[in-house]
Symmetry: C3
C-alpha cells in the first residue's frame, strides 16, 4: 500500500460508523489490515500495462475514458459518450482533447456523491496521485495539471506503482486463446513481481455467436492441431489450461447469463459442436452446450486443481444501440434475476462434494445471498462465495453481503476480497475500502458482543488476505488440491 | 407546511437515529428542508375536493373510511368492512354513524404502532388538526369532538389547507377520458394555487376487460370523433394528451402488472384492436396490446415531452371475494415479483437514449432496486427512479431504497419524493416523514465521512424539492425536453 | 428459563446495539421478557425424549451428531460426515468414539463465529450446561468431561430440563399416521408438563413417491378402515385430525417446495388418487394433488379450528449423493425462490376472509417478506406470518424480518416466535436470542421516537409470549375459532 496514507481531504475514519464503541474497534481492526499486501486474484487489468511499463497518457485517459462506472453515470445524465473521448464505430467525431474530457467530468463530479466510484476516485486522487487541491469545477484545470505532471515521473509508471501499492499477486483475465505474450515478456524481465493469467474460455462456448468459428480457429492455431470434433476441442482446452498453469494461472473464469449446468450425452454434445462448426447452431443449442461445458470445466478443475470462478447474471449489452454505435463495456450491461439452487444442482452433485474441486460463485442478484448462495456455500465442500460483485462492490453492498451470508456460511466459505477492476490505479482504493468496511462490520459484531476482539482480529486478516490466497490456491494448485482431499 | 410544527405528542427528533453525531447532522439538514414548498407530482387526491372546497364531513370520513391503509389493517384483524362504513354492493347494512366507526378505529389504534400509517396519522392529528389529547380508546370521543369542531371552521376547508400545507403544485391522476371539469372549474376561480391533471389511459388499453367498449365510447365522445381502428385510437390519445397538457399536465401514468414492452407490427396491433372492438380479445391479446401501447406511449412522450410514469407489479384485487362484495381499492391489492431488465429492454433501446423522453419507474419488488432499477437508471439518460412506493413508502422502506439505489445511480437519477396519496390531509405528513428520513440518511453519510456537510445540504434540498420539479418538468415540458437534448 | 442466567463467558448485553440510548432501552425491555415462560408451538423435538426421560448419552451425541446446522458447517469445510459419527448407509466405518467426534468439532469451533449456531451453543454450554471453561481446541477434553459429568446427574434429564427451561407448552411434529404413543405415555405419567403433537400429513400427499403406498397402508391401519378412494382418504384424515386434537394438537403442518393451491374437480382429484393407488402417478400428478390437498386441509381447518402451518420453499436433499450415502436431514436442503401471491390466491380467496381459519406462513425467501407476505398478512384476517425460519432464524435474519414486515402488517399479524428445533437443549438459547433481538429492535424504535416506551413493553411481551399462545390457539381451538368469527 502507498506509504502516504493520509491526505487532508480524506478523513482518517472514513466509512466507519460514528458510534464511539464501533469506531474504536473499527480503527483498531483496520490498523491490522491496512498494510497487508494486496492479493488480487481476479480482475481485468491489461497485462500489456505492466509488460510495457509505459507512462499513463493523461488524467482523462487514466481516470475517465477507460472507467465504465464513470462513463455510465455521466451518460445517464445526458453527456454523450463522444464528449468523453469514446470513438464512435462509424468513424464519427469525438473529443480528443483530454483536458476538455477532464473538464466535462470535473463539472459533474457532484454526481458521484455517495457512490463507490466517488470513494475510489477520492483515494486515487489524493492518496495514489497526491493531488493537493479538492476537485471541483473551479479546480479542474489545476488538478489536471497536477496529475499530468505526476504521470510524467518514473514513480508513476505501472511497475513502480505495482510495488508502491504492495501488490503481492495480480491476476489478469485472458481469453483461452491468448498467447500470454505479455505475461511471458514480463516474466522474462525478472521484475520481481507476480502477475498471473486466468483462463477464460467463454467465447469458445458460444457456438451460435457470429465470431465463434474465428475464435475456434484461433484455438486451433495456438494449440497447433486441427479441431474437428468435441474430443479434439476438449483436448485443446485441456492443453490450454496446462499452458495457462505453466504461466502461473491458478484459476479459470466463466461468465454466463444463466448458470445452468447439465451434462449431455456424449453423442448429443458432439452433435451440438458439429452444428456450431456447420454454422447451424441456434441460441437454444448454445445454451445446452454452455451448460454441458460448465460440467466439463468442473470436471477438468477437479482434475487439474484450477479454481473455477462463475460470474452469473449479467445481461450483456442491454443497450443494443450503444453497442452498435460504440462497442461493448461502456456501461450498458444490466443484471437479471438469477437462480442458483436448481441450476447448479447437477454440477454440485457431481463435483461439489470433492474438495479437490473449488468453485467460486459471484452474483449480481442480492436476493440470492441468503436464500441460495449462503446455504449452498455453508454445505458443499467445494464451494466458496466471491465478494460483493460489480454494482454491489460498495459500502452498503459489502455490508449487505456480510450480513446475509456469514450467519449461514461463516467466513471460511467466503473467498475474501477481489477488486475485479480494469482500472489499475483503483486497486489500492478498492482494497482499502473493502478493508475499512470489513473492519467496521467486525467492529459492530464486537460492540454487540457477538464475537470477541481476538476473533475479530483473525477474521479481519482472513477477509483481507488469507482467504484470497487460500481460496485461489496461490500457494500452489496441486498442493492445495491434495490437501483438500485429506481434510 | 403548517406554521405549527410542534406538538407535545410528537418528539422534535422523531425518526432520527439516536447516535449523537447522526442526530446533530440530521436536525440541521432537516432544518433546511422542512419549510420548503411541497411539490406533489403524483397522487390520487380527488380534484373535486379543491374545486368544490366543501368542508370535510367528519373525522371518520376524513381519516378512516377513505384510507385503504387503515382499512386493510383493521380488516386483517377481523373488523368487518361494514363496521368501518363501507357499503356492501348488495345493499346490505353498514355502519353509518361516524362516531361508531371512529371508536372501532380508536380501540385498535395500537395496531398501527411502528407503521407509516401510524406516523402519518400522528402528524395529521397533532399537527394538521391540532388535536390536544393523545388518541387511545379512552379519549376516542373527545378526539372525535375536537376534530369535528375543527372541520367546521373555514381554515380546515381544502383550499385553506392547501395554502397552509405550502403546496406549490399538486398533480392528480385522471382517466384519459376525463373531461377535467374540476381542474377547469378550479382554474376558473383564479384561486392562486396549482393543481394539474395526469393522463392515465390504462382502462383504454384493457381490450379484454368487460368495461373496455364503454371506456372507448367515452373516449370517442370526449374526442368528438368515431374510433374504428387503431390509427383513430392513437389519434384520439394524442388529442387527449394535448388536452391534458393544455390544462397543465406534464406527465402520464401507467399501471401494469408486468411491465412488458414490445412493438408489434402495425398490422398485428390493428388486428388486436379490432378483436377488442369485436368483443373477441382475450387476456393474452390484451397483454400483447398493452406491451405495444407502452411503446406507443413512450413514442408520444418523446414527442410531446410528457413524463411517462410506470407503476408496475401490483396484482389488483387479489381478494376477489372482497372485490365482489365491496368493490376495488379497499386493501386487497398484493404485489408480485417483477422483472424490468428484459421487459423494458425494447422500450429503453428505442427511446431510453433520448433525453427528450423521460420515464419514471416505480416498483413494489424491492429486490429489483439494486439488481435492475439502479443499474438501468444509472445508465439510460431517459430514466429516473420514482420514490419508494406504496407498501415501501415508510421509514425502513425509504431507507432501503436509498441504500440500494444511490451507490449505483446517484441521486440525480432519482425522481425525488411524491406522496401518491388519496388522503389530502396526509400530504404534509408524508412529505415531512420523507424529509426526515432523507435528512437522517444523509446525516449517516456525513457521520461516516462518505460525503461532506455541504454536499449533504444540497442533496437534501434536491431530494425534498428540486428533483421532483425537474423530473416532472414542472417548469415547462417543452423547455426541459429541449434542454434534455442538448445536455 | 434457567435460574442461572449469568456466565462469565457471555456478556450481559450481548446482541444489543452499542448506542447507549438503544442499549438502555433494550436492557429494560429484555428484563420484562427474559423470564416469561417458553411457548414452543412448532418444533421437531422427539417425543420419546420426554416420554422415556433417559439421560442424554454424551456431549457429542447431545450437541454435534444430531444438529444439522453443526454438521453442514463442518462438512462444508471438508470434514467427512463419518468423522462426525454419522453412519453411512452402506454399513461403512464411522467414528464411534464421542470424544473424538467432540474434538473434531472443538478444533473447528472458530468456524461458528458470527453464526446463530455459535450463539446458541454458547448459551447451551455456559448457561444450560454450566461449563466453566471457554471452549477451544485446547480445552476440548476438559469441556467434554464437564458436560459428561453433568449429563449423569438427574437435573440434566429431559423432564428436569423441561421444567428448568420454563417451558409452558412444547409442540412436536408428527406424521399423520403416528400413533402418538409417546404423547400418550407421557400424559399418563401425570408429569405436569404440556407436550402436544402437530399433525403433519405431507407423506400421505406424495402420491408419486416410492413410499406412498406403504404410508397409505399405515394410515388405513391406524384408522382401522380400508382406504380405496379419495372420499375414504379424506375421511381418514379427518379422523386422524380428531385423534390428534384429542391428544392436545392445535395445529397442522405442511411442507411444500411450491405453495401452489388449487381445488380440483372432485372427479379429477379422485382419479389422481386412484393413479397413485395404481402406482401410476407421476411428479406432475403429485403437484396437482398436493395443491388440491392444501385446499382440503384449509377447508378442514376452517371447520375444526386447527391452525394450518405452511413451510414453503425448501428443495429437500439438494445433495443427492449425500442423501444416497447417509440419508436425509444432514444439511443438504437448499431454499429456492418462492411465489406466494399467485400460488396462495385460490386458498386465500376461499378461506382467507374467514377468521375461523388460521394460516401461518413461513418462508426461506426473504425477498417475499415485504413484497408478498406482509401485504398478504396485513390484509387477510386468516393469515399470520411465522417467525424468521431456519437459515434466517438469526440476529440479522430476525432483524430483517421485523424491518420488512411490521411496517405493512403490524405485529398483530405475526405469529410470535417458535424455535423449530430438533435440539432440545437449544430451546432456551433460541428463545433467549429472539427475545434479545426483539428487545433491541423495539429499543431502536423507541430511541428514534417511532413508538413510546409503554408501547414497546407491550409489543415485547406480545412477541415473546402472547402472540404464540394466541396464534396457535393454545387456550383452546374451539373457543378461539368461535371468537375469531365474532371479531
Amino acid at each position: 500500500m502507498p506509504p502516504r496514507q493520509k491526505a487532508p481531504m480524506l478523513h482518517e475514519d472514513r466509512f466507519f460508523d460514528p458510534d464511539p464503541t464501533v469506531r474504536r474497534h473499527a480503527r483498531s481492526l483496520y490498523q491490522e489490515t491496512r498494510d497487508l499486501p494486496i492479493v488480487s486474484p481476479h480482475g481485468h487489468v491489461d497485462p500489456a500495462l505492466l509488460a510495457l511499463d509505459q507512462p499513463f497518457p493523461d488524467p482523462a485517459r487514466l481516470l475517465v475514458v477507460p472507467d465504465h462506472y464513470v462513463l455510465r453515470m455521466l451518460y445517464s445524465q445526458g453527456v454523450p459518450l463522444e464528449a468523453l473521448g469514446i470513438p464512435p464505430r462509424d468513424g464519427g467525431a469525438f473529443e480528443r482533447d483530454p483536458r476538455r474530457i477532464w473538464r466535462a467530468f470535473a463539472e459533474r463530479w457532484f454526481l458521484f456523491r455517495g457512490t463507490p466510484t466517488g470513494a475510489w476516485l477520492d483515494h486515487e486522487l489524493y492518496l495514489v496521485l497526491g493531488v493537493t487541491r479538492k476537485l471541483d469545477p473551479s479546480t479542474a484545470d489545476q488538478v489536471y495539471d497536477e496529475i499530468a505532471e505526476k504521470l510524467r515521473s518514473p514513480e508513476f509508471r505501472p511497475r513502480a506503482l505495482f510495488r508502491r501499492f504492495g501488490i503481492e499477486v495480480l491476476a489478469t483475465t485472458d481469453a483461452a486463446t491468448d498467447t500470454l505474450e505479455h505475461h511471458r515478456a514480463l516474466a522474462a524481465t525478472g521484475w520481481g513481481g507476480r502477475m498471473i493469467p486466468t483462463f477464460r474460455p467463454d467465447a469458445l462456448f458460444a457456438i451460435a455467436a457470429p465470431g465463434w468459428a474465428e475464435e475456434l480457429s484461433r484455438l486451433a492455431a495456438v494449440f497447433q492441431e486441427p479441431i474437428r470434433d468435441l474430443a479434439a476441442f476438449l483436448g485443446a482446452l485441456e492443453g490450454r489450461r496446462a499452458w495457462f498453469r505453466r504461466h502461473g494461472a491458478t484459476a479459470t473464469d466463466h461468465g454466463v447469463e444463466v448458470p445452468l449446468t447439465h451434462r449431455l450425452e456424449a453423442r448429443e454434445a458432439d452433435a451440438l459442436f458439429r452444428r456450431g462448426l456447420a454454422g447451424e447452431a441456434d441460441a437454444a443449442d448454445q445454451r445446452r452446450f454452455e451448460a454441458h461445458m460448465l460440467m466439463e470445466m468442473a470436471r477438468m478443475s477437479a482434475g487439474d486443481g484450477m479454481v473455477m470462478q462463475l460470474h452469473a447474471g449479467a445481461l450483456r449489452d442491454h443497450n443494443r444501440e450503444l453497442l452498435r454505435r460504440f462497442g461493448p463495456n461502456l456501461g450498458g450491461d444490466i443484471p437479471v434475476a438469477t437462480e442458483y439452487t436448481r441450476n447448479l444442482q447437477e454440477l454440485l452433485n457431481a463435483y461439489g462434494n470433492d474438495s479437490r474441486f473449488r468453485l467460486v460463485l459471484f452474483t449480481l442478484d442480492e436476493s440470492t445471498y441468503s436464500r441460495e448462495l449462503a446455504p449452498l456455500a455453508g454445505h458443499y465442500p467445494a464451494l466458496r462465495l466471491g465478494p460483493a460483485w460489480w454494482f454491489h462492490d460498495s459500502l452498503e453492498g459489502m455490508r449487505r453481503m456480510r450480513e446475509r451470508t456469514v450467519e449461514t456460511a461463516g467466513i471460511r466459505n467466503l473467498a475474501g476480497f477481489n477488486d475485479d477492476t480494469r482500472a489499475f490505479c483503483s486497486i489500492p482504493a478498492r482494497h482499502d475500502l473493502a478493508r475499512r468496511v470489513d473492519a467496521n462490520w467486525l467492529a459492530g459484531l464486537v460492540a454487540r458482543h457477538v464475537i470477541g476482539v481476538d476473533d475479530a482480529r483473525e477474521m479481519a486478516r482472513a477477509l483481507a488476505y488469507d482467504l484470497a490466497r487460500e481460496t485461489y490456491r496461490l500457494d500452489g494448485v496441486a498442493a492445495d488440491a491434495r490437501e483438500g482431499v485429506q481434510r
